[in-house]
């Protein structure tokens, strides 16, 4: 068990604290609800002379993303955070960050997208960017968010891929809960300084071109490599997560049968129905599973991109019914996670259904989940 003391913190404060201990060199952000508390906290530390990173105030999210892109290209460890419209404004830059293979780490405090204007939680923002070439992690609890940020930097800097850690806006960012924070020494053991190879970052003494032109004879090679490296990163994410939890173990949840960097399986070994979901909604689903008279399971996806198809298929071996619960429509077609599962489970004899819920902060109640299980388990 971890020797660090359990703390009671706001989600945003826990994330800001772990980022501070990870020691980025450049932080840039444009404030947007509900990630605000994270960057306010990080800015305050610099103002109070308590942290050494450079905090660059940006005039927009487009600028903030461009600033961390540039800083990362010079070899610096960087951080930013955003939500909703802010993430959409970063879209163009994010594709460049992954295309340039920069290990940028960001937090996305997930929030609905206009219109109508809505500041509350759902997953519409990140789903719009799911193909931007970044690794996408999702956290259910404060502890997972803390662990995933440390993991994000390790993976990003090892594979030269950006990582976006997704936390539910308000539901996690503004909620207070118990959690364990690793100290800087423990983090350093797992996450050494960024390994800089001469000629792979911007340095006037060893000039190099970044953000190159790729014609028809070479562009596809860049994209092929990015796709290959993203898919291959599944095994790294799994390994690094296991290594991290060895260095920094925290109390295990009773009821969890499988837990790795890609997914968690909670509930019955022989379920009548398995729910697949991501983020804080998984906590409420677990509570419903605990109370429900029949055997139900949950696959919580921790790593959404790259998509852990093999891992999920294995976890669903003894299941005939799967219900996807997700916080985003796939406008004009099926919702995103349902599509991903349809592809992963193609050819399997599984009855796959889905429901979209919790849009724009609509409360996902235990009663609602119970009723959905009742409806679909038949």
């Amino acid at each position: 068990m971890s020797s660090t003391k359990k703390q009671f913190l706001e989600g945003a404060a826990a994330i800001a604290e772990v980022i501070n201990r990870i020691k980025p060199e450049v932080v840039s952000a444009y404030p947007i609800t509900p990630q605000t508390h994270i960057v306010e906290d990080l800015a305050q530390r610099v103002a109070d002379n308590k942290s050494a990173y450079e905090y660059v105030r940006a005039e927009s999210e487009f600028a903030a993303a461009s600033i961390v892109l540039g800083a990362s290209a010079t070899g610096a460890r960087t951080y930013s955070a955003t939500s909703s419209q802010g993430l959409l404004l970063m879209a163009e830059v994010l594709y460049n960050i992954s295309g340039m293979r920069l290990p940028v780490v960001m937090t996305v405090a997930n929030r609905a997208i206009s219109g109508p204007i809505n500041i509350w939680n759902d997953h519409s923002d990140i789903m719009a960017l799911r193909d931007c070439g970044a690794i996408l992690l999702f956290a259910e609890t404060h502890q997972e968010a803390i662990d995933q940020h440390v993991l994000a930097y390790k993976i990003a800097e090892f594979l030269n891929l950006p990582v976006l850690v997704n936390v539910d806006g308000f539901i996690m960012t503004h909620a207070f809960s118990g959690c364990y924070l690793p100290d800087s020494k423990t983090i350093k053991k797992f996450l050494p300084k960024r390994n800089l190879v001469k000629g792979e970052y911007l340095n006037p003494q060893f000039p190099v071109t970044m953000g190159v032109f790729g014609g028809p004879d070479s562009y596809y090679l860049f994209r092929q490599l990015l796709q290959k490296d993203l898919l291959n990163s599944l095994k790294n994410i799994k390994k690094e997560y296991a290594d991290w939890k060895k260095i920094f173990p925290t109390p295990k949840e009773s009821g969890t049968l499988t837990s790795n960097g890609l997914i968690e399986y909670y509930g019955s070994k022989k379920p009548a129905l398995v729910i697949v979901a991501m983020g804080t909604i998984c906590g409420t689903i677990k509570k419903v599973i605990d109370d429900y008279p029949k055997k139900i399971g949950l696959i919580k996806i921790r790593c959404y991109r790259p998509f852990p198809s093999v891992e999920i298929k294995r976890a669903l071996k003894k299941t005939k019914k799967v219900l996807v619960l997700e916080k985003c429509y796939g406008l004009g077609h099926e919702s995103p996670l349902k599509l991903d599962l349809s592809a992963a489970l193609w050819g399997e004899k599984i009855d796959l259904r889905s429901e979209v819920l919790g849009l724009g902060g609509q409360d996902v109640t235990e009663k609602k989940i119970t009723n959905l299980i009742k409806h679909y388990e038949k």
Binding site: F8, F170, A175, F176, S177, T284, K287, E366
Partner: protein, 194 residues
């Protein structure tokens, strides 16, 4: 198997420290070795607008994230919210209502109007605490969130008075020693006198 969880819902207005109140409740409970969770429902932030925040306390880890629909304790920080029917939603025959008021429980009961006949109010479950009077007298400002929690400590077994004081000391530390001491004095006064 699920274990019993105590649910607290705090109603007040923007600027009255409603969110801080639930944070203090949960923090105090963790000092007593319990598991706790606190979270607000934010409207679009405006001073004076009705605000609601939630706290759960349990012996077991708390998994659910749903808002609180069946409160065991209702704390009403602002008496003028009494006409807002939503504040009583889900109140049951065990729900204790702690309200910042100089009126008597009988007078409060008359004014509280439940939204649904299912929402129950019993005079014996109403606790009136003159938190504004105490806050103005001791703290010098109408900041009632810590004051009214003293009444919760006294009328429940959710957390001890010492843990509440410890939580207030920790949470208000950045506001300076003088503010902390004034709050602690107000808490002591309510606990002993009302």
């Amino acid at each position: 198997m699920s274990f019993s969880t105590t649910q607290v819902r705090v109603h007040g207005r923007g600027g009255q420290g409603v969110v801080t109140a639930t944070e203090l409740i949960a923090l105090a409970a963790t000092f007593d070795g319990q598991e706790a969770q606190a979270f607000p429902f934010f409207g679009v932030e405006r001073s004076g607008a009705p605000v609601v925040s939630f706290a759960r306390i349990s012996k077991q880890p708390i998994k659910t994230r749903e808002q609180i629909y069946r409160p065991d304790y209702l704390i009403i920080q602002d008496e003028t919210l009494i006409g807002d029917k939503n504040i009583l939603a889900g109140a049951h025959n065990q729900t204790k209502i702690i309200i910042n008021s100089t009126l008597s429980p009988a007078e409060i009961k008359k004014q509280l109007k439940p939204l649904s006949p299912k929402d129950k109010i019993y005079e014996k479950n109403i606790i009136c605490t003159p938190a504004t009077v105490v806050a103005l007298e001791v703290i010098g400002k109408n900041l009632v969130n810590t004051v009214i929690l003293s009444a919760l400590a006294k009328n429940s077994s959710l957390f001890s008075l010492d843990s509440l004081k410890k939580a207030v000391r920790l949470k208000l530390a950045s506001k300076g020693k003088a503010i902390v001491e004034k709050n602690l004095k107000a808490i002591k006064l309510v606990y002993e006198k009302y």
